[in-house]
């Protein structure tokens, strides 16, 4: 019941947002809908943490530990970003453009719906369509600000990620072929894990590679990442929070789902590929950090880095590393969405995304400065934030299983990335302002969002509540750990 509700509520909200009843209607409707979805997602996650599996509507919608974790993260960022949108979009859209605000919220709800349905749909073919729709529904949100740069970013985003999705489609068709050879009828993840030992490796392996490269494009793995910093820096801040915080994670979830499938097949080993793509992504993102000039772009590179770390964690293998991967996904979604909210408030204040143009923010806009500082620390992985703990867990698990080379490389890169991020944030927050910056009033909904989003950000690094810990455990189990 809850699972169906999670899909129906955003659909209704999307329809309501288009009703011609004034420009102030769509935002609260979206906020209420996303609050209901968050409530339902918490209920689903609690059940998944307790039992490891939530089943509704039998064969169409299911949700296990890993799915419930992704669902919860999407619902959470969907809620905070809706709250942030209220003030931010009203501020950045000129008066009188009621239609474009309505269109924004209609697409916003559909975009969130498509991400929510990825972990819920039991049929793998349907799930592919949901992933494809996340791109198509968010294309106009990426180009929402209608500047030449935003349209260019939207174009690259749609063409490259759709190309990746079509490549992955061939992988899924080969996977279906293999499951037919193995005598499997329903094309579900559970069924695939069962059928994998009987599938011909000659089919399973190319299917895995097509999906890894195809969906890896959408996750932003190097070298298929070129569209990501553009889209994640040109979209409105609320959309960036969704794109960077959870859209990438949602697609990575699909790749992680393949891990146990390939894992049980005799003679195949996906781990070197996970570690290779993961380390390459972390390394290139770290290099790009050093020369970055745009602070939203910096947070986008950080997403590439985090996706790489999660992939390495999955590749290291074992229950502990997988627990670290699940924890890292959680920490990333919460911290990265917070960073983009902070970046959005900063852009409202200073009117530019250039790092060099922002100095001494703490004097002109203390709220934005503190938010950027906290967000920067959280995403770079300083203690006591969740990303620090999860990276520590991952490195420790790698050492315990004797993979010293990978652990050393990862540790060095993570430390360099940390220094680079803190260097840039420090220059923006402190230092002497070069010229007078206009004082602006930050919309109230943006302030409330920052305050609300800061609560889990601060808490889960220090204290993981027992139900959340159980959920992370269940997610790690679903990854085959």
């Amino acid at each position: 019941m809850e699972l169906a509700g999670i899909l129906i509520v955003p659909l209704l909200a999307s329809g309501f947002a288009l009703l011609p009843v004034g420009r102030r209607f769509a935002a609260p409707v979206t906020l209420v809908a996303s609050a209901i979805v968050l409530g339902l997602a918490v209920a689903v996650a609690a059940e998944a943490a307790r039992t490891g599996q939530v089943a509704a509507s039998g064969e169409w919608l299911t949700c296990d530990g890993l799915g419930a974790l992704v669902l919860l993260l999407v619902a959470f960022v969907g809620f905070t970003a809706a709250l942030f949108s209220w003030g931010y979009i009203a501020e950045s859209v000129k008066h009188g453009r009621r239609k474009s605000i309505q269109l924004y919220y209609a697409l916003y709800n559909l975009f969130v719906l498509s991400m929510l349905s990825v972990p819920l749909l039991a049929n793998v073919a349907l799930m592919w369509i949901a992933v494809e729709l996340t791109t198509l529904l968010s294309a106009f949100l990426v180009g929402f600000e209608d500047t030449p740069e935003a349209l260019e970013a939207a174009w690259k985003y749609v063409v490259l990620t759709t190309l990746g999705a079509v490549l992955a489609l061939l992988g899924f068709l080969i996977l279906y072929w293999g499951s037919r050879v193995a005598g499997l009828e329903p094309f579900t993840w559970v069924g695939l894990v069962e059928a994998a030992p009987r599938m011909p490796p000659a089919l399973l392996w190319p299917a895995f590679l097509f999906i890894l490269v195809g969906f890896g494009t959408k996750v932003g793995l190097v070298p298929m990442h070129t569209w990501l910093p553009d889209a994640h820096s040109q979209a409105p801040a609320s959309i960036c929070a969704l794109l960077s915080g959870v859209e990438t994670t949602t697609v990575l979830y699909v790749i992680l789902r393949l891990f146990p499938v390939v894992g049980v097949a005799p003679g195949l080993d996906a781990r070197p590929w996970f570690i290779g793509f993961g380390l390459l992504s972390v390394a290139i993102a770290t290099l790009l950090f050093i020369h970055v000039r745009d602070f939203k772009r910096m947070f986008a590179f950080s997403t590439v880095e985090h996706m790489g770390i999660i992939l390495v964690a999955a590749g290291l293998g074992g229950a502990d590393a997988h627990l670290g991967a699940a924890y890292q996904m959680t920490g990333h979604a919460i911290a990265k969405s917070f960073c983009f909210f902070a970046a959005g408030v900063t852009v409202l204040g200073v009117g530019t995304q250039e790092i060099a143009a922002v100095r001494g923010l703490v004097r002109t806009s203390p709220l934005a400065a503190i938010a950027l500082l906290v967000g920067g620390f959280a995403i770079a992985g300083a203690p006591p934030f969740a990303v620090f703990v999860s990276e520590f867990v991952i490195l420790k698990a790698g050492l315990a299983s004797g993979q010293y080379l990978v652990v050393t490389l990862l540790a060095v890169l993570v430390v360099i990335a940390f220094c680079a991020v803190m260097f840039h944030v420090n220059r923006m927050v402190f230092g002497v302002p070069e010229h007078e910056i206009r004082a602006v009033t930050v919309p109230r909904s943006c302030k409330v969002t920052l305050a609300l989003a800061a609560i889990p950000l601060v808490i889960i690094g220090i204290y993981v509540p027992a139900p959340l810990y159980d959920l992370l455990k269940a997610a790690a189990t679903a990854m085959g750990g």
């Binding site: 073919a125 369509i129 294309a139 970013a153 174009w155 072929w177 190319p206 790009l288």
Partner: protein, 224 residues
């Protein structure tokens, strides 16, 4: 299953023509000609689906053929005409990154590469004869479509390249999964027009805002 050699020969002929249209999309210089080649390619895809449907007695493949005809030969040209302004079609010469002879040379390399990629799947011996034709040719068409996106600077030819990649996947798909679930067929029916609609409307906005559709020349966003 009916493994008649006539059907097999017809499918091989369809496959050869299918590949030729993919090469044609790489080499052609005009937007309208690209669109016509894409429609022809979609017709050949539908024909292959019908041939395989007869050979394997699969009603699903007839549905795939019908959906392909309806969406790709009728709906997509109609959508493009109504979302993209006529001016875009009027730019007859497509700006391109590479000249045609070098493009064709690379296309030849890509076709060989497609056979290399498909080979391990064919050796698995789980493949029916039709897979031997459709899988490598489908992958070759995918590669050529992706290559088209890379060398074209105009928006509509890039979109047609993307749709050609999708055609390639389905050309392989009709052979490797003749009993695709109904739901996947419906999805394909929705997915392709939505891609066209979104990209078409984006093209229109880019054209309205920037006065050009040479998306390949947009390069304000890059690492310094």
């Amino acid at each position: 299953m009916n493994n008649s050699p006539v059907l097999f020969a017809l499918d091989a002929l369809t496959g050869a023509l299918f590949l030729l249209t993919a090469i044609g999309v790489v080499a052609t210089r005009q937007v309208l000609a690209s669109l016509q080649l894409f429609i022809l390619q979609s017709l050949l895809l539908a024909l292959s689906a019908v041939l395989l449907g007869i050979a394997q007695g699969s009603i699903h493949l007839f549905a795939v053929a019908a959906i392909t005809l309806a969406t790709k030969t009728l709906l997509i040209p109609w959508l493009l005409r109504h979302t993209v302004s006529a001016e875009v079609y009027r730019t007859r010469e497509i700006e391109r990154v590479l000249n045609i002879p070098s493009s064709l040379l690379i296309a030849a390399v890509l076709i060989v590469l497609a056979y290399v990629v498909a080979n391990p799947l064919l050796l698995g011996s789980v493949a029916v004869p039709f897979v031997q034709v459709n899988l490598p040719l489908g992958i070759a068409a995918m590669f050529l479509g992706a290559f088209t996106i890379a060398v074209r600077r105009e928006a509509v030819p890039q979109l047609l390249g993307l749709l050609a990649v999708e055609n390639g996947v389905f050309f392989a798909g009709v052979a490797i999964v003749p009993n695709l679930p109904v739901i996947a067929e419906l999805a394909a029916a929705v997915d392709v027009p939505v891609i066209t609609l979104v990209i078409g409307m984006l093209t229109r906005r880019i054209h309205a805002r920037l006065g050009t559709t040479a998306v390949g020349q947009l390069a304000s966003l890059r690492e310094q």
